[in-house]
Amino acid sequence: MAEDKKELAPELKEKLRTEFEKDWRKDMRKSVPPKDRMKLGRQKMPERGPDERNKDFEEVNLGLTPEMARAEARRCLDCVNPQCVAGCPVGIDIPGFVKLIERGEFLAAAWKLKETNSLPAICGRVCPQETQCEELCTVKKAAGVPVGIGNLERFASDFERLSGSVTIPPLLPPTGKRVAVIGSGPAGLTVAGDLAKLGHTVTVFEALHEPGGVLIYGIPEFRLPKAVLKAEVDYLKRLGVDVRANFVVGMTATVDDLKNEGYEAFFIGSGAGLPNFMKIPGENLVGVYSANEYLTRVNLMRAYDFPSYDTPVFPARTAAVIGGGNVAMDSVRTAKRLGAERAVIVYRRSRTEMPARTEEIVHAEEEGIEFQLLTTPVRYIGDEHGRLRAMECQKMELGEPDASGRRRPVPIEGSEYTIEVDLAVCAIGQSPNPLIPQTTPGLKMGNWGNVEVDWTTMATNLPGVYAGGDIVRGGATVILAMGDARVAAAEIDKFLRR
C-alpha cells in the first residue's frame, strides 16, 4: 500500500515558501498575534435540524456564511511549516487559500484551490479531513480544535460556483495527443482535468448513463448534491474534456481497440465496482441488498421518487445496514429517509474502530440511527415467499490487533440473538471491478483482483497504461483516488512528451 502521508516534495515546499513570504501574508500574520488567533472558537457548520433532514434528501450541511468563513480563516496561524499540507493527498496550498478567505478574496481562494484540486466543492464535502489536513493542524495540537479546513474549502468553491464566475484557467497549447480515461469517478475526473490543462485531448469513458462514478451512484444527495457534481463535470467539459457515457471499456471496446483508434495513453480508474458479500446463509433472499445496489437505485436511478421515476426500491420498517464505513452511514441514513421506523447499523467492532468520517457518524446518531456495535449477522431468515424477515446476529469482543492495526473482533459463543428486519444492506466493502483486467491481456494484477502499479508513478506494467483509485486500492476514499490521479496525470504528461 502506498504511503498516504508523506514529506512535502521539495518543489511544493519551495512554492509554499514563496507564497508565505509575500508581503500581504506577512502583514496578515502581524495583524493578529497567534495567541489571539488560538483563542478563537471554531465556527460551527450550519446544518438542518435532525428531525427535519431525516425525512428528505436535501443537503444536511448548509455551508458557512462569508462572515463565518472569514472568522474561521482567522484561526489559521499561517505556519512557516504548514503540516496540514503534508496531510493532504493532493498537496493543496492550504494556508494560501485560507488566508485569501481571511482577506475576503473568496474567488481568488477558489482559484488557488483549483491549482491543485479539480473538484474542491466535492472534497470540501466528502474528504475525511479529521484524519488528514485537520489532524496535523498546529491549532489542533496547541488549542485542541483544528481550523475547519474542509468547511473553508467547501465555502470557497461554493462561493465561486454560486457567483456564476467560474473561470477557465489558461490551457497549454494543444499537443494533439489523445488520452483515454476509463471511469468518470473522482480519479478519472481528476486525471482528465489535469491533462486537459496540459494541452492533451482527453476522452472520459463511463459505463453508466451519468458521469461521476461513486459520486453519482454512491454518495447521496443529502451529502453531495448532484448539482455540485454537475458543475464540476461542466467545468471539465469547458476545459475541453469529452465525456462519453454508456461506453463500457472492456466490452464496447477494449483498451487494445482504443489504442488502435489512436489513443496513446490510458488511465484506468474503473473503481471498486464489485460488491462483497459475507457468504452467510440467506444472503440472496429478497430484501438483502449490496450497498452498491441500494444506493444506485436511490441515487442514480432516483428510486426515492418512485413511481415518477420507474426504478423501485424496498421501503423498510426495520432496516439493518452491515458495516461501519461511509458507505454504511450513507445507506442507513438513506433507509431512514425512505421511511424506516428503525434504521440500525450493525458493526462488528466498536465505535472507535469505525472507518466512517466522524461527521457522518455524529449526523447519523442525531438522525435517530441505532448502533448495534460488536455485532455481526450470521444468518438471514426469510418468509415463505423468500422475503427477508429476520436476521440472526452474534455478539463479538475485541481481541489482539490484526494486520490493519485494529483489534480483531472475536465471536462470543452462545451470544446469538434474532432481530426482526425487512431490509438488510451489506456495506462491508467492494473489490476492484474485473471487466478491464479480464479484457486487457498482459495487464499485471495483484492478489485480490487489483491492478498492480508502481506507487511512485501509478504506471501499470503496460507502457502508457496508468491506474489509480479503488481499482488499485480496493476500497478507499475520494481524496486518495484523486491523489493517485494527480501523480498519474503528471506521469502521463511526461510519457506523452517523451
Binding site: 461506453f247 465496482g273 418512485f306 420507474d310 471487466l435
Partner: protein, 277 residues
C-alpha cells in the same frame, strides 16, 4: 443519443427494436445482451441481442411486453432517440462444433437464440430448433430459423401446429429422434428454461440456459442479478448470462425475479394514468 431505426410489433405481445449503435454492433456475439433505458426517468433493464449488422451499425433486440419499461419501448418510433443502449454485455455463448444441438426457444427467446442458431450452424453443428408458442400466430422468425436449421419443430397449445404440448414432452421427443444430442440450449421465460432443465436432467444432456434476473448496471457493480449455480453465488451480468441449467437454483431465481411484483403493478398504473394519451 442512439437513434431507433425500426420498432415493430412481431406478434401481439412481442416487439422488435433496431437501434443505431455502431460501436455495440461491432462487438456483438451470440448470447450477449444490452442494457436499455427508455427515457430519462426510466428503469435500466437487460434485453438479449437478437441480431446485429456491423455494416449498417445496427443492433436488434426482441422483447415481450411486461411492465412499464417494455411498454415505453413499444411506444418508440423510428427516428426517436433512446438515452441508454449500452453493451454488448455478458459473456458470449460458447460456440463450438458439438455435434447435434437442440435449441428450445420461447417468447423473446425466439429472437435471442437466433444469433446462436446461426453461429452453431456456421460452426458445423446439426441444429434443431424447437419453438414454443401458445398459438401459431405467436410464432415469429419461422423462415429465418428454417433458413439455417436442419429441422424446425414447434410446441404449442394450438391445434394448427404439430404438437399440442408445453415444451418438455416435445423436447423429449426431439431428443429421442435426434439422439445422440450433444447439447440443449434453452432461452425464454424462466418457467420454460426450468421445464427444459427438468426434462434433460434425467437424460444427462448438457443444457445451457440464459438467465434473466433483474439487473441495474449490468457490469458487475451492483449485484442485483445474483443467482446461485452449483451452490455458489454468481452475478448473471458478468459471470453469465449463460449457465448450466442443471446447476441453477431455480427456486431462488423465481423468487428474486418476483422481488418487485407489487411495485411493477404500481408503476404500470402510474404510467397508464399519467403518460398514456
Amino acid at each position: 443519443m442512439p437513434k431507433i431505426l425500426t420498432r415493430e410489433r412481431l406478434v401481439p405481445n412481442i416487439h422488435l427494436l433496431e437501434v443505431h449503435a455502431p460501436e455495440v454492433a461491432r462487438k456483438c456475439r451470440p448470447g450477449q445482451f444490452v442494457i436499455v433505458m427508455p427515457d430519462e426517468k426510466g428503469e435500466r433493464i437487460p434485453l438479449s441481442i437478437a441480431d446485429w449488422d456491423a455494416g449498417r451499425g445496427s443492433v436488434t433486440a426482441v422483447f415481450m411486453l411486461v411492465g412499464t419499461t417494455t411498454r415505453k419501448l413499444a411506444a418508440l418510433k423510428a427516428g426517436d432517440e433512446i438515452p441508454v443502449f449500452v453493451g454488448p454485455l455478458g459473456r458470449p455463448s460458447m460456440i463450438e462444433t458439438f455435434g447435434t444441438v437442440v435449441l428450445a426457444a420461447g417468447c423473446f427467446g425466439i429472437g435471442a437464440l437466433w444469433p446462436t442458431a446461426r453461429a452453431l450452424k456456421a460452426a458445423g453443428n446439426r441444429v434443431v430448433a424447437l419453438i414454443d408458442a401458445k398459438a401459431e400466430d405467436l410464432v415469429y422468425w419461422k423462415e429465418r430459423y428454417r433458413s439455417v436449421c436442419d429441422r424446425v419443430l414447434f410446441s404449442s397449445r394450438d391445434h394448427a401446429l404439430a404438437s399440442k404440448d408445453f415444451i418438455p414432452r416435445p423436447l423429449e421427443n426431439a431428443l429421442k429422434a435426434e439422439a445422440p444430442v450433444a447439447r440443449v440450449i434453452a432461452v425464454g421465460c424462466t418457467y420454460l428454461m426450468y421445464a427444459c432443465a427438468q426434462a434433460t436432467r434425467p437424460l444427462g444432456i448438457k443444457t445451457i440456459v440464459s438467465l434473466n434476473p433483474i439487473m441495474v448496471d449490468g457490469t458487475g457493480m451492483c449485484g442485483a442479478c445474483r443467482c446461485t449455480a452449483a451452490g455458489k453465488t454468481k452475478f448473471a451480468c458478468v459471470d453469465g448470462p449463460d449457465f448450466d441449467a442443471h446447476l441453477v437454483d431455480w427456486e431462488e431465481l423465481f423468487m428474486r425475479r418476483r422481488s418487485y411484483f407489487d411495485d411493477e403493478i404500481r408503476s404500470l398504473c402510474h404510467y397508464e394514468e399519467t403518460e398514456l394519451p
